[in-house]
């Protein structure tokens, strides 16, 4: 009853994650974990204390285990342009 009213549109779910840590998947094999400070209807977001995980596939590498590399970067504050967002989710533990 209460929760039915809470979600009038999909973005209301995102709103509930304000000031919480969220997981954001981006185009270009990028993932973000950070505290959601702000968002808008384009899914532009401001993330605080964000960690970016970039996955790189090296097709010249023959060893399959080494072909996939991840680069981790940390940002204190990050503006994410909405057009690259694939999904937003609560953090995966």
């Amino acid at each position: 009853m209460e929760s039915a009213q809470a979600v009038a549109e999909p973005l209301d779910l995102v709103r509930l994650s304000l000031d919480e840590i969220v997981y954001v998947k981006l185009r270009g094999d990028r993932e973000l974990n950070g505290r959601l400070h702000a968002y808008d209807e384009h899914l532009n977001m401001v993330l605080g204390d964000a960690e970016e995980i970039v996955t790189i596939f090296d097709d010249e590498e023959t060893d399959k285990d080494k072909a996939l590399k991840t680069i981790r970067k940390h940002y204190e504050m990050l503006f994410v342009r909405g057009d690259s967002v694939i999904l937003i989710a609560p953090p995966r533990n």
């Binding site: 209460e2 929760s3 009213q5 809470a6 709103r15 509930l16 304000l18 000031d19």
Partner: protein, 754 residues
């Protein structure tokens, strides 16, 4: 009878078919030919003498137009020369591209005689063109010099080209001679420069050279030597100036010196000054004047050109057009609700200590209409700013009165015309939202606690919505008219209504009931950092009773708080990371507002709250948490302040001492646990345990003092000893922490170390 013996009486209908025929059959040319030519009477030539005055037979076929035009042109040039002599220094040279075809036509010898009058006519025309002034500074006025090459050539030719016409063969011959033959001795008045050099000059510096020079050379060339290849071809490729000064067109070297300065043009390095003869004083003076005029002219011309560019679009709009546009622009910018539309600007101004409402209108006008507007209007009206402000107010009020239709359908138009403004952009989707207030009210009434985390988050967002709404209503105070009591009353009612709905959304009353075993909703709300942040924003607007209610909820459900539940150090002397951040948020956002209420409470309420705190929680556990200690310290110190102020009655005082003793006895034997464990290095120097001990020491009796000291002795001594080895800034902190506690019992760290 006609002159030519035509039969003028010929019927017209024979020559042209009537109109009907024309339409039906078109024109049949066989029919229209009526053998008129055959009827021509070729006789009657005997009267030609009377008609024309000259016998037709005496007129030859060798028409010498050029000879006659040359004579006429000489006269014209004389006139032109006189005119130009008056204007030569005041009027700049005007080139015209119309010269080009004539240059290219040079090879036709029969054509060049007709050129001179034509060019003079063009000169006169171009003199009349005011637009040409925009070209003036592109080709700046310079003293006219005859290129020595041309002059010398002319001298060598020894001809007055304006009077004598050469045939093509003659010209070629002479040209060849001049190029092969040794150069004649130099003329006294004109500097002689090798012709190759001069040709180079004309080629390389043609753009910088005086158009008059090039024009003159062209003039001469066209006249005398149409086939000089080096110069004419170059000129043909360039937009050669049209103007030919007669002074140059008549290459009379004897006449030149007095008319035109002979000094080589100073910027033209190719003319060697040492070769040039000394100029006369008159020439020098003229040159100076020229340069001055030139500078002045350049400035004036630039100004004129700027004006011209600006004037291109001048006068396209009428006054009403302009004001219409201005009104549209201003009405878009002026907001009916500046509080929310300009939210960030306004809040920023308030933070900066400015009052936005005061400067609003005038600032706005200055920003968007600029000072020029002000200045221009200033001449006409005495108080332009006020006038404009009034206009703006009228605009805004009229915009308010008019209902804002977002669509408009015109008769005969297909579809609707959307009326978009900057505030109401074109709506792409029209999704109907469920009407929230009604349903949320019902949900409030039969509230049964939060079942999931999402419910809590939603509740927090709802409170934020309401709070923002309330704050906006609060800011509207600046737009209210203080004289209108009714307006103020309605505003106050709305405010209290909004506040009431916030209060409901916090579920304080439900939390106070505490009948169920579920976690109180308010505690759930403030267990999130964003929920904690609500409190300092909301607190000042709440009534005292409401504030105390909040304090009660927190105190009664103290052990439900996450930071208390999980606030003890683990075996490694560490706290969970999220608890640490939550704790810091709690101390930052929740404790300060609660502290302000506690500091206003009387002893009775303190007693009540303190005993509730002890009854509902495990005191031994409580003193191991930072938040628990902080709260205990809060109450004890407030009670002690009240006790020492002497304003409390004996009953309350005794009751307080009893409550304190209960607490003391419960935690007796555990006082050493108030400190973070020794391996919790990060928290080793926090002052909160010492504050608690100090508060206890103030409230305790002398026997209790003994207990306190004996239980904390190790820590006190440890702090004093380690401070001697520690860096000075840490040592200061440690000593002052110890002194907090010792001073409360009348001791000092220095006494112990001695």
């Amino acid at each position: 009878m006609s002159f030519f013996g035509f039969n003028t009486t010929l019927p017209k209908e024979n020559m042209f078919p009537n109109e009907g025929q024309l339409e039906e059959d078109g024109i049949d040319f066989e029919e229209t030919y009526d053998d008129l030519g055959n009827q021509l009477n070729e006789a009657g030539d005997e009267l030609n003498d009377e008609t024309f005055g000259v016998s037709a037979g005496s007129i030859g076929r060798d028409f010498d137009f050029s000879g006659t035009t040359a004579q006429a042109s000489a006269q014209l040039e004389d006139e032109q020369y006189q005119i130009n002599q008056q204007n030569i220094f005041a009027k700049p040279v005007k080139p015209a591209s119309s010269e080009l075809p004539q240059v290219s036509r040079l090879n036709g010898a029969s054509q060049f005689p007709s050129r001179e009058p034509a060019s003079t006519a063009i000169n006169k025309l171009s003199d009349l063109q005011p637009m040409a002034s925009i070209w003036e500074n592109i080709v700046p006025e310079k003293p006219a010099i005859i290129p020595p090459e041309v002059a010398s050539l002319q001298d060598r030719l020894g001809a007055q080209p304006s009077e004598k016409v050469f045939s093509l063969q003659e010209l070629e011959e002479q040209l060849l001679n001049s190029m092969t033959a040794p150069k004649p001795p130099s003329q006294p008045a004109i500097p002689i420069v090798p012709s190759e050099m001069a040709a180079q000059v004309t080629r390389e510096n043609i753009s910088s050279l005086d158009p008059a020079i090039s024009a003159a050379s062209i003039g001469n060339v066209t006249f005398g030597q149409p086939n000089i290849p080096s110069t004419t071809t170059d000129f043909a490729g360039l937009a050669a100036p049209n103007m030919v000064h007669p002074s140059q067109a008549i290459p009379n070297p004897v006449m030149q010196p007095s008319l035109v300065p002979q000094m080589p043009y100073p910027q033209n390095g190719m003319y060697n000054p040492s070769v040039a003869p000394p100029a006369s004083l008159v020439n020098l003076f003229q040159q100076e004047q020229l340069i001055q005029n030139q500078n002045l002219d350049e400035k004036r011309q630039k100004l004129e050109r700027d004006h011209m560019l600006m004037a291109q679009c001048a006068g396209l709009m009428t006054r009403s057009d302009k004001s219409f546009i201005a009104r549209i622009q201003i009405s878009q910018l002026m907001s009916e609700d500046p509080e929310s539309d300009d939210f960030y600007y306004r809040v920023y101004s308030i933070i900066r200590g400015r009052k936005p409402s005061e400067e609003e209108a005038s600032h706005f006008i200055q920003t968007y209409l600029g000072p020029s507007n002000n200045r221009r209007r200033g001449r006409r009206s005495e108080n332009p700013m006020q006038k404009l402000q009034q206009q703006l107010q009228r605009l805004v009020s009229s915009a308010k009165e008019r209902p804002k239709a977002t669509q408009l359908s015109l008769e005969g138009a297909l579809g609707k015309i959307a009326v978009n403004t900057v505030r109401t952009p074109r709506q792409l989707l029209n999704v109907k939202r469920p009407t929230e207030p009604a349903s949320s009210n019902s949900s409030l009434n039969n509230f049964s606690g939060f079942s999931t985390k999402k419910d809590v988050l939603h509740a927090i967002e709802k409170v934020y919505d309401l709070l923002l709404d309330f704050e906006q209503a609060l800011r509207k105070a600046s737009t209210l008219e203080t004289t209108d009591q009714e307006q103020i009353d309605t505003w106050k009612t709305t405010l209290s209504e909004k506040l009431e709905s916030i209060w409901k959304a916090l579920y304080i009353n439900e939390s106070l009931e505490a009948s169920s075993k579920t976690r109180p909703p308010f505690i759930s709300i403030i267990s999130h950092p964003k929920g904690m942040r609500l409190l300092p924003r909301l607190f000042p607007h709440l009534s005292k009773e409401q504030q105390i209610s909040i304090l009660k909820v927190v105190v009664y459900n103290f052990d439900s708080l996450d930071i208390v539940l999980r606030g003890t150090f683990d075996v490694n002397g560490e706290l969970p990371l999220d608890v640490v951040s939550e704790m810091s948020s709690f101390t930052q956002f929740i404790i300060p507002p609660l502290l302000t209420i506690v500091n206003e409470l009387d002893l009775e309420t303190i007693n009540n709250l303190f005993s509730q705190l002890l009854n509902r929680t495990n005191a031994v556990y409580l003193i191991q948490t930072k938040i628990g200690l902080s709260f205990l310290t809060l109450f004890i110190s407030r009670a002690e302040i009240l006790k020492q102020s002497g304003t409390v009655n004996q009953n309350e005082k005794e009751e307080w001492e009893n409550t304190f003793n209960v607490m003391f006895n419960r935690v007796k034997g555990h006082f050493s646990t108030v400190f973070p464990p020794p391996n919790a290095r990060a928290y080793a120097d926090e002052s909160y345990p010492w504050e608690f001990l100090a508060a206890c020491a103030t409230a305790a009796s002398s026997e209790q003092h003994f207990t306190l000291v004996s239980e904390t002795r190790d820590r006190v001594l440890d702090n004093i000893i380690t401070s001697k080895r520690a860096p000075s800034e840490i040592a200061v902190v440690r000593i002052s922490n110890v002194n907090l506690f010792l001073n409360a019992m009348g001791l000092d760290a220095r006494q112990l170390s001695a």
